[in-house]
Symmetry: C2
Subunit: 370 residues, 2 copies
């Protein structure tokens, strides 16, 4: 909604700009969210920052102004039109319905409601119309790993009909929040000057134990000089919760109930930006040039794909950017109608805060236009 | 061959223990090879160490003795029964035939001969009989990325008939040799104390440029705080040489001419040990427990697979060990007859030196028995 037309609107918010609450404002995603809200075209009236009692009273800067963080209570949602939640699943499960009861539309970035059939799971570039299909007053933001590839796969699915996905992830530490980032930096400070580590079984583990033994890690193994093939919690059949999210959320967002998916989720020593190696199979024949053209035309996708010139996406080059970066486009040599690609996306931005902000803006436009 | 029976043997080496030449003795794989030759049951008579003129004269320790490195010449192969080569492709292409001409059987770890139909490509646990099928007198050792998964996939193929592989790699710096290891340590020394890096596009690249700008890197992008979706040289269709090796060498080793393979090869900031996320499809139905049992029974495979207890293979825990470590075994939820798994193997040991030593020992046994 442009600012010049805002005053002519009436309805859901009676012509005023909607009030936004940001719940979880002090976390890793919350911090990025405040930056995004300060950078994007401003559709909001009041922005209320909310966090746990421990963080209440903190002063944070948003849209160039200092805002005092308020404690999460039922009353804090009074007068709120849209409430974004970026808090643990159990906090969302408890408080999102409270916010709805107080009159807010909730955009939730936890896993609490994503697979609820009465809660839409939205990527604005892929299924924006689903925003209005919210009988519980809650809209879910997808898991960051799934989100990393949705814009690109949405564009390809639109053209050729996706049927199968085999995905391996290279997930950043910040997917585990600020404790993940802190832990990676702590570990790198230990290993960064030692040119003997990583050459004998367990030597990295031993060095970290010696220097950081008393500090708990959010990761189940050393992350520095290592990769950790586990993210999330254990589910049936040896799958991790993260891997099942990639499968189930991809099906729901793309609207393909029988999409075949196998995902292996692996944490890597990268601060921010998830990467995915994707093997995608389609109903209809496509060439790699077909796929490239569709991705180039997708507004939120940037194709970086000239390996001979060193051009391919890497997380350290992509971090901080809004689009999904795609490269290493290859036509599978042996699988019909299949394309292999490598995708990088900032897991705190498009993977979390940006997509949440985009959904909230769709709701704001709807409320303002109502 | 046991030492007690050695003196009774006659034939190829006339009862004496065969003479071994190690060409490329001063490289990253060569260094590991000398350790392996010192640890394994000793089947060799003389061990001759060979390298380029630049490294000739260096004294290295093998089997507890100091050995002076000799320059690579035709004459150095006189009297040699088996010559292991771990040198660049073009050096092998030139010198392996010279060694054969001088009477040696060559076990070559370069890419120069691997796809030659007259050169067997051998993994002793998978296709040991191929060692004798060497009309050119040359036996090739597979690429380290392919080798990482061959023991495990060989065991599964034996049981259920492999038809399709989708693979994403997490490849260690030492796959690019000692310069790769040096570079990773150099980069980690730069980023290891800076808790701001990895949060803005290009900040890692900038810091490395500032501190290491004059030092060339074997990698086409920063490796610290990053992953690099490129290994090897460019081939047709956007594929890297490494990715095509995984496809073509898997087909040759397993003897499956029409095996469908898509591989994406990615370098990660790990010193040594390659990891692979593997999606494997089979002709015949199998359960994850079938697969687990076959892998447990495979002599060179160790199954580490209890994620709830934090038990899965990681490269930092596997480095320096001989077996292939397999974990994260999962039955694909949507693909019939498919298993997903995560494999780690030391790319300098089973991925290079150890497999080469095992092949050479097969030849030694044959020559001694002849």
């Amino acid at each position: 909604m442009s600012q010049s037309t805002e005053s002519t609107r009436a309805g859901g918010t009676s012509g005023r700009r909607p009030t936004l609450a940001v719940v979880g404002a002090t976390g890793a995603v919350g911090t990025v969210m405040l930056g995004i809200l300060s950078q994007r075209q401003d559709v909001w009236g009041e922005i209320r920052l909310v966090a746990s009692a421990r963080s209440a009273g903190t002063v944070l800067r948003v849209r160039g102004e200092d805002v005092v963080v308020q404690e999460l209570t039922a009353e804090v949602f009074d007068g709120v039109d849209v409430a974004m939640f970026d808090v643990p699943d159990e906090v969302s499960a408890q408080w999102a319905p409270v916010a709805v009861e107080r009159g807010a539309v909730v955009v939730d970035n936890s896993g609490a409601f994503r697979m609820d059939p009465d809660v839409p799971l939205v990527v604005p570039e892929v299924n924006p119309a689903q925003v209005r299909n919210r009988p519980r007053g809650i809209i879910s933001n997808p898991n960051c790993t799934t989100l990393t590839m949705m814009d690109a796969l949405g564009a390809l699915h639109h053209g050729w009909g996706l049927t199968e996905l085999v995905v391996a992830s290279y997930q950043a530490a910040s997917g585990a929040g600020q404790p993940g980032v802190d832990r990676l930096y702590d570990e790198l400070a230990v290993v960064g000057g030692d040119r003997t580590l990583g050459q004998r079984s367990g030597d990295v583990r031993g060095a970290l134990e010696e220097k950081l033994g008393s500090v708990p890690s959010p990761f189940p193994a050393p992350l520095a000089l290592n990769v950790v093939p586990w993210a999330g919690s254990p589910k049936d059949g040896g799958w991790s919760s993260e891997e099942l999210k990639v499968r189930n959320e991809s099906r729901k967002i793309l609207g393909i109930a029988d999409l075949k998916v196998s995902a292996t989720c692996v944490r890597v020593p990268v601060v921010t930006t998830h990467s995915l190696a994707v093997h995608a199979v389609f109903q209809r024949p496509l060439t790699v040039e077909d796929a490239r053209q569709a991705l180039v035309e997708a507004p939120s996708v940037v194709v970086v794909d000239d390996p001979e010139q060193g051009d391919f996406p890497t997380p350290a080059d992509v971090v901080g950017a809004d689009p999904t970066f795609v490269g290493r486009l290859r036509q599978s040599l042996d699988f019909p109608n299949a394309i292999d690609l490598f995708v990088c996306g900032d897991n705190l931005r498009k993977g979390a805060a940006l997509n949440t902000a985009q959904i909230a803006e769709l709701v704001a436009a709807e409320l303002s236009a109502a």
